[in-house]
Amino acid sequence: MEDALNKNNRLAYYYIWISILLSVILIGLYGVLMSFVEGMEILEFNLLIPWSMMISVYIFFVVSSTGLCIVTSLGHVFGAKRYELIGKRGVFLAIITIVFGMIAIMLHLGHPERSAVYVWITPNIRSAIWGMGFFYSFYILFIMIEYWLLARADLAKTANTSIGWKQVFYGLSTFGMRSESEEAVSRDHKFAKIAGVAALISGLSAHSTLGAVFGHAEARAYWYGAYYPIYFLLSATFSGLAWLILMTVATYKIKSEEMPEKLKKLVFEMAKILAFLLSVGLLFMSYKMGFGLLDDAKAKTIMLFINGPLSVSFWGFEVGIGTLLPIIMLLISVKRVSLNGILAASFLVIVGLFMMRYDFVVAAQVYPVFKEVPSLFPALMEIFVIAGIFAGFFFVYTLAEKFLPLKETEH
């Protein structure tokens, strides 16, 4: 009786969650529609700051995607068996993060349809954006193949054991390869490794070029240099870890399922690495800010963080909520074996990262254009669209959790 009640309650919450997400998606779609009707400028809070919210959300998502690819590659590329557990969820998250990142960049581009053509017809290999587009195209292809190979056996199993539309849907999703034999699974595994290697190589290349997009910009002193291509790799790794911990633990909590012991162990291991990498990130950050202050070209921009309009966001979110607090929380929760603690900490890391991306993109563009610092707060429509993108992301994940094999299984 109580079980049935619980189940009913959960179903109600599920529908509430879905309807909230759908309504936020609608708000986002309204923003997108208005940008077509009234002109793209409604998605820009200041016309003299050409890159703003869309670019920062794009970076936020694609960095997470590469990070997820890096973390999952530990399992089926580098052969650390325990990491194979999180393979499917990790790779699937890598797919949806990059897809929603791409949606954000499409909304930034004036003519996304042209980019798909001219990137291939008239490439400019001197341009970092071209390199990024080139590598990410392959990356998306490879991680999709990788996920399919990891999930095929499960999809086939569902197809073989169900009837009706379910059988058709899952049957189609296996592309007719419905064998569940050990041989087929080990073949999948072999190819998944190849796809994983390809995805990792293309992902890391794309990611270094993403850093170089900013690093190359000599006319933007704050971005310019070798720092960002390197730092982006580090922040990718910790954002990947944070996403994986957040989504894995949250999914088990919400479904009130007991986490397998092995997975729990792995999650705590990842939490420890996350704490370590966050502190390395803190070192990088202090290096950037400290040495930047000594450099005349960068000092003014850095003062925006330290003492300017971005100071709340920098000290509060990037340093406090996004780095220091999570490090402490992670260390304490690992010691106390508290899943709630690391869940909260990884959520804070994600929030901090989001703010960090925004600050990083916007701050560099203030000087030398503005004599007086303008407001750096995003426009309402930007917020609508971004909220829609995030809702879309969680919506797809929720559906996938229900219909696709994401669950931790051992090979």
């Binding site: 050409p50 490439p123 070798a226 390197i230 030398p368």
Partner: protein, 272 residues
């Protein structure tokens, strides 16, 4: 016979025909001087006919003057004229026509992912191909002068193209429209010589000689650009390819290093 009238025998004519391609080459070398636009702020009276000539030639909508009266370029305004005063000496104040500086080695062309921006090395024009531009606005970031602007209606980047459809036969619309000869367009070396002479005379500054590795718009300023409140470009080529290689290489090296660390971690990490 006509040939003989012109003192040109048939034999000579055939010789000339044979030599024609070679003479073309020689001509280019002899005449291979690049063009540039000269802006003489000491002559400018601030009538802004260059602005309207530009609008008319390029079929652009009229400009709405902001309340601050400080004109800024936008997606459909390629050139502006503002009165600027020196920060050092308030007596020094001039109207300064401002637009794309048409760098000899344009950083914007180097970063455009679809090669929509091209530089004509002879006429000097840096032109955005409006049918190709994807609107990513990377050129905005690369430009040392922060010139490119976004046309939100056409959803592309637009900026001064030095009237590439007029030059070098006709002068750019702004130059043709200037009533006081404050603007000029011609061989770069001539323009530069003129600019240097004038700058020496008024104890001014020649902008565009070294800035961003040299630009094909040369401006005679009454004082250095930082004093006149203009964006200062470094006196070297911005975004050189070798520099980009250096930065990209550091990223790829770090990526390889990370892959190595992952390998080591999965081999030797205990996982407890």
């Amino acid at each position: 016979m006509q040939w003989e009238d012109n003192n040109l025998s048939r034999r000579d004519f055939v010789k000339l025909l044979g030599a024609a391609p070679a003479s073309l080459v020689i001509n280019v070398e002899k005449n291979g001087r690049r063009y540039a636009k000269l802006v003489d702020t000491s002559k400018c009276i601030g009538c802004r006919r260059c602005m309207s000539a530009c609008k008319r030639w390029n079929n652009l909508p009229p400009y709405e003057v902001p309340e601050t009266l400080v004109r800024d370029m936008d997606g459909t305004t390629y050139t502006v004229v503002n009165f600027k005063r020196s920060s050092r000496d308030a007596e020094i104040g001039k109207f300064i026509p401002w637009s794309c500086q048409h760098c000899i080695k344009p950083a914007c062309a180097g970063v455009c992912p679809v090669t929509a921006i091209s530089k004509n090395p002879v006429t000097g024009a840096v032109v955005v191909n409006e049918d190709k531009c994807i609107g990513c606005r990377y050129c905005f970031q690369a430009c040392p002068y922060k010139v490119p602007r976004f046309d939100f209606h056409k959803r592309i980047t637009r900026k001064c193209h030095l009237c590439y459809d007029r030059i070098p036969k006709l002068k750019p619309a702004c130059v043709a429209g200037c009533p006081v000869d404050a603007l000029d367009y011609g061989y770069r070396d001539l323009m530069l010589r003129k600019a240097r002479q004038k700058a020496q005379l008024i104890k001014g500054y020649v902008l565009g000689e070294q800035e961003a590795g040299g630009t094909d718009v040369i401006t005679i300023l009454p004082a250095p650009p930082e004093e006149m409140g203009l964006i200062v470009a470094p006196k070297k080529v911005v975004n050189e390819d070798i520099d980009k290689v250096r930065i990209s290489f550091s990223g790829f090296t770090a990526a390889a290093g990370l892959a190595g660390l992952l390998y080591l971690y999965s081999r030797f990490g205990k996982g407890e």
